[in-house]
Amino acid sequence: MARAVTTQRKALNTAIAWAIGLLIFFPILWTILTSFKTEAQAIADPPVFLFFDWTLENYAVVQERSNYMRFLWNSVFIAGGSTILGIIIAVPAAWSMAFVPSKRTKDILLWMLSTKMLPAVGVLYPIYLIFIKLGILDSRLGLTVVLMLINLPIIVWMLYTYFKEIPGEILEAARMDGASLRNEILYVLTPMAIPGIASTLLLNFILAWNEAFWTLNLTAAQAAPLTAFIASYSSPEGLFFAKLSAASTMAIAPILILGWFSQKQLVRGLTFGAVK
């Protein structure tokens, strides 16, 4: 009897989980479906779901109008570069906060996080002026640094909570065996924190990929990533929903595929470490 109840509950939980999952995924599914419709079908009322004449015309138009590969490469460079750079800076920072804390460590952590609460537009002009002075406006390098700085508090926080899970005695033992600080971090700490580092990498790559304020405001023609690619198909005067959907699908496809293949790693990292 108990078993039957458990099975029923399991089935119910599964059904609820699927329903929530579908609800969350539905806007993405709708975008993908709309990308295969004509503009007239895209705004049809009542809306058409699956039974329409599927067309690749929107993709052809988007390919013809935009240099998709350049936007994609910029996204990969900026999201990848800022994440790796962030990890390189955050690992030693998180190490010191986790294993050699001072009286002010908690305050510093909170202060770092508080910078995320500042509206980005509040510092747009100072950063824009710095970019002009340094000659890095519309450059991948400049944007990589900015996105790294923006995501750095989250990276440090995540790594800090993962590192806190690792017993300090192990590192102490390594030190007693003569390991230098560099070797201690590289060969002892990092391998033990790999799931946490991997999930931090993935999460921050996704955050940087989707970042739209700085990527739109600090780029023009050369360094614009996929967020600018999508923005170029949005129009307040004219219904181009099907083309906008095609552009959006092309922009989210790489990150969707990456997320799909790395979901186990991501979930494992998140549930084992930081966000318990």
């Binding site: 009322d45 002009y125 405001n217 023009a220 023609a221 307040p236 219904l239």
Partner: protein, 439 residues
């Protein structure tokens, strides 16, 4: 002899290299920020013609209108130089021109024929008589209506109807059972969306934003009359949820046959008459935007998307060449040749409306009449200290009007009364104007 030959060959090589370098030095790449609309996209497809003629290449940065506005404003106020040409509107041009942020376009070539630009457009894109942006296309607003529904209602649309006629016709065309709304109008918050529409509507009821001393005028009876009329008509004959409808939402409703009338930008005429997009393409008529009985001012606006050169660019000469190419009569002919006369950028040049080929386009004459009926230097019944019809050409306006339009939208949605919305609008505007030092 050998030495002489070698010297000759070397000097020839040097001169060829130098000539090539000089030629390369003239050719440059221009970065142009623009909006995503049909005319601008068409221009991007025809840029090869410009490159062939001048050797210059073009990099496009296409953005959504509001994003573009924020992006180019940041760049021009910091003298960033990220763009060589910017697509801006009638609101920004005189303000930026007055601040010397734009390169004056006062030395365009004779071939360009600057006198061919429609006077209203030229005036709206100038500051103290100097042109700062060249209009790529211009628009006003007008009535688009379903001729079949109007006929079924037993009414006939005059060329220049009044609001009172429009309300009556809207009620007669409304068929709630078949989801047909007599009239679809903007109600969405935002100075360029519902804010623009209600401002021109108020103009046609004798209202104005400010008196000559920059005092807000929302406490005057004309505003109450205009707003109550709008809300009353929309409740009788408008679509459900009209408080959140903007251009695109109404376009979608009209194209699906769910609106009897729609008053909006003249550029919409090409969308609603396009059989590939519109289910009612063959039964659309046009009329001038309405005015209230006894008031001469009509409720039509004036807008232009224009090309301007930011003062921070290092490529002003090449940028001028591009602007001359893109806003010339030659470009209009190029579009007509490639895409047909219905797709040429309208509303910028007088000669277009004298062209026999263009006169056949069903909405051409009404577009021109609407543009000619709009005067940004004399937008209201009573005198005002500002220029602009659907906006007030001061830097503070965008922020104030966005807040005011949010209050109006809340009234449309039934979250507050019209009187409450007007009271708040009065307070918001006066407070902001005082803070900005106008009062």
């Amino acid at each position: 002899m050998k030495l002489r030959n070698a010297l000759f060959a070397a000097s020839a090589l040097v001169s060829v290299t130098a000539t090539a370098a000089l030629a390369d030095g003239h050719a440059t790449t221009l970065t142009i920020a623009t909006v995503n609309n049909g005319d601008m996209i068409r221009m991007q497809g025809l840029t090869d013609d410009f490159t062939e003629k001048t050797g210059h290449t073009v990099e496009w940065v296409t953005l959504e209108e509001n994003v573009l506005r924020q992006r180019v404003t940041t760049d021009i106020t910091t003298n960033g130089g990220a763009f060589d040409i910017m697509t801006i509107g009638m609101y920004e041009t005189p303000i930026w021109g007055a601040n010397d942020w734009l390169v004056p376009l006062d030395d365009l070539s004779d071939d360009y024929n600057v006198d061919d630009i429609l006077p209203a457009m030229r005036a709206g894109l100038s500051h103290e008589g100097t042109l700062y942006a060249a209009p790529f296309y211009g628009e006003s607003s007008m009535i688009m209506y379903r001729t079949d529904l109007m006929e079924a209602a037993g009414m006939e649309m005059p060329d220049a109807p009044t609001w009172q006629f429009i309300r009556e016709a809207a009620a007669a065309m409304t068929d709630r059972d078949n989801e047909i709304n007599g009239i679809c109008l903007r109600g969405k918050a935002g100075w360029g969306e519902g804010g623009a529409f209600i401002t021109v509507t108020a103009n046609s009821f004798g209202a104005r934003w400010f008196d000559e001393d920059w005092n807000a005028q929302f406490d005057q009876p004309q505003w109450a009359e205009a707003l109550n009329f709008y809300v009353g008509m929309m409740e009788e004959s408008g679509p459900p949820g009209y408080a959140t409808n903007g251009f695109n939402e109404n376009l979608s409703l009209f194209q699906q046959g769910k609106c009897g009338m729609w008053i909006d930008a003249t550029v919409a005429a090409s969308f609603v008459t396009n059989p590939d997009e519109s289910t009612v393409a063959d039964s659309v008529g046009f009329a001038l935007a309405p005015n209230s009985e006894g008031i001469e001012k009509k409720s039509n606006w004036l807008w232009a998307w224009a090309l301007a050169i930011p003062a921070g660019t290092q490529k002003a000469d090449a940028a001028k060449e591009f602007i001359e190419w893109a806003t010339s009569t030659g470009y209009i002919e190029l579009v007509a040749e490639n895409e047909g006369w219905a797709n040429v950028p309208p509303g910028a040049r007088i000669s277009l409306y004298e062209n026999a080929n263009y006169k056949d386009i069903p909405f051409a004459q009404k577009t021109l009449d609407s543009i000619l009926a709009a005067d940004p230097t004399d937008p209201t019944v009573d005198p005002v200290p500002y220029v602009g019809i659907q906006f007030v050409a001061i830097p503070e306006f965008a922020g104030i009007a966005t807040e005011v339009s949010q209050e109006f939208s809340a009234a449309y949605a039934g979250q507050q009364t019209v009187e409450e919305a007007l009271e708040k609008a009065q307070a918001i505007t006066n407070e902001a104007m005082e803070a900005a030092g106008y009062r």
